[in-house]
């Protein structure tokens, strides 16, 4: 008789808490519109895997469908890489080619990754786990998942949730940080925009050069950078329009669906419900704050040396994070609020595109450096 009611008799309070967390993620996705493509499947996956017996994961030694997907798409890093092909096909580097100096904000706004990594070591995490927590600051879900699946598989759930949640919270996180670091006058700086077109050969050569450079600087980053740039090459070649569209749509949507529910499946109560998860979620916020700080401070530093008519609106620096195009939109909205008619969107987008480059380069360098010195 007990076997019949095994579903009821196996319920633990930890399961109930995880159902609540899953429900919260689904609510955030539906009601608040926070990264619904990821948070909804993650939330449902979290509920699925925390039902009694956890049949979707593993039962009586037989792997369930979520475990099969986890082994076939997360452990071997396949899903994030496939998503990168799709993202690469979506990225248009043209705004960056028009404002190349904005590329340095894409570097400065990776500060949060490294600052958070140091904080995490202070909190007692080992270097590999700390690096995986820091990479939340890449503001780039697939990079965070890729690095975490290599260095800290046990924390993949909280790291992914933090990465995607904070990405969707950029409109709430960045404005107060920007306001705290800049004066009203600085936020009102106008920037002239010169319309020019990049040559076709540059658009085609750029993904190849980026891949080869990354391969020379940090060979271990090649899957990460190579898949992104492969997608971009398909887009820019001009002869693979259907493949480009397939990568941007069907491939990305399908893999995102599987990735989300599989990440949710990795959120078993015994792995997720501990104080380290809370620390990781807090560290994620630190990462996004310091990303913004890094970008804004670089712009302010550059302004010390620039002539008056060429000064940079320091808010642009905050767009150096990879959350595209959300960050650029946030900054443009702030510029409009400060002074109607102040259009800095194109420069903001250039910095935002640079952030996408900067985040994968930073991820690649972490993948290269950490194993050298971490035991």
């Amino acid at each position: 008789m007990q076997d019949i009611f095994v579903g009821f008799t196996s319920i633990t309070w930890q399961m109930v808490v995880m159902w609540g967390i899953g429900g919260l993620l689904i609510w955030l996705a539906i009601k608040k519109g926070y990264e619904p493509m990821l948070l909804l499947p993650i939330g449902f996956g979290a509920i699925l895997v925390n039902l009694p017996l956890s049949v979707v994961w593993e039962h009586e030694g037989v792997a369930g469908f979520l475990k099969i997907l986890y082994d076939g798409g997360i452990i071997n890093e396949l899903f994030p890489l496939l998503i990168f092909v799709g993202i690469g096909a979506m990225i248009d580097f043209a705004p960056l080619f028009k404002n190349p100096t904005m590329i340095f904000f894409g570097a400065a706004a990776q500060l949060g990754i490294f600052v958070t990594m140091m904080f995490a070591t202070l909190l007692g995490f080992d270097l590999r786990t700390a690096a995986s927590i820091g990479i939340i600051g890449a503001a780039d879900g697939p990079t965070a998942i890729y690095v975490a699946s290599k260095f800290a598989k046990n924390f993949l759930g909280p790291i992914s949730v933090a990465a995607y949640s904070y990405m969707s919270l950029v409109p709430l996180i960045q404005p107060p940080v920007i306001r705290a670091l800049t004066t009203k006058e600085e936020r009102r700086i106008h920037m002239t925009y010169h319309e020019s077109s990049a040559p076709k050969w540059l658009k085609v050569l750029f993904p190849i050069i980026v891949t080869m450079t990354s391969g020379l600087v940090a060979p271990i980053s090649v899957p990460l950078v190579g898949s992104l740039m492969f997608g971009n090459l398909i887009r820019e070649s001009g002869v693979l329009e259907r493949l480009s569209q397939t990568a941007q749509n069907e491939l990305t949507y399908l893999v995102t669906l599987l990735l989300g529910i599989t990440i949710g499946g990795s959120m078993q109560a015994d792995k997720f419900l501990n104080y380290q998860t809370i620390l990781i979620l807090c560290m994620g916020l630190v990462a996004f704050v310091f990303d913004t700080v890094g970008g804004v401070l670089l712009a302010k530093f550059a302004n010390l040396f620039l002539p008056k008519d060429k000064k940079i609106n320091p808010m642009i620096g905050a767009c150096g994070i990879s959350a595209f195009p959300m960050s650029a939109r946030v900054v443009q909205k702030m510029a409009q609020e400060e002074e109607r008619g102040n259009i800095i969107l194109m420069q903001a987008i250039s910095a935002n595109v640079s952030g996408q480059l900067g985040s994968i380069i930073a991820g690649g360098l972490i993948l290269a450096f950490v194993p050298l010195i971490a035991h």
Partner: protein, 55 residues
């Protein structure tokens, strides 16, 4: 370089993280700086081509 890596591998996690931070930030700036140079050079090339055509 080997001795530096060797000594870092025995250092505290915070020192290791600081080393990765320095290396990482320098690496990101250098790599993106290299991409900037490529874009800048292509811009110069394009301008040169345009002025040739105009003349």
């Amino acid at each position: 370089m080997d001795s530096l890596i060797q000594s870092l591998s025995h250092a505290s996690p915070l020192s290791q993280a600081a080393a990765v931070t320095v290396g990482g930030l320098v690496g990101v700036f250098a790599t993106l700086g290299f991409f900037w140079m490529i874009i800048w050079l292509s811009g110069k090339l394009q301008k040169g081509e345009k002025s040739k055509k105009a003349s």
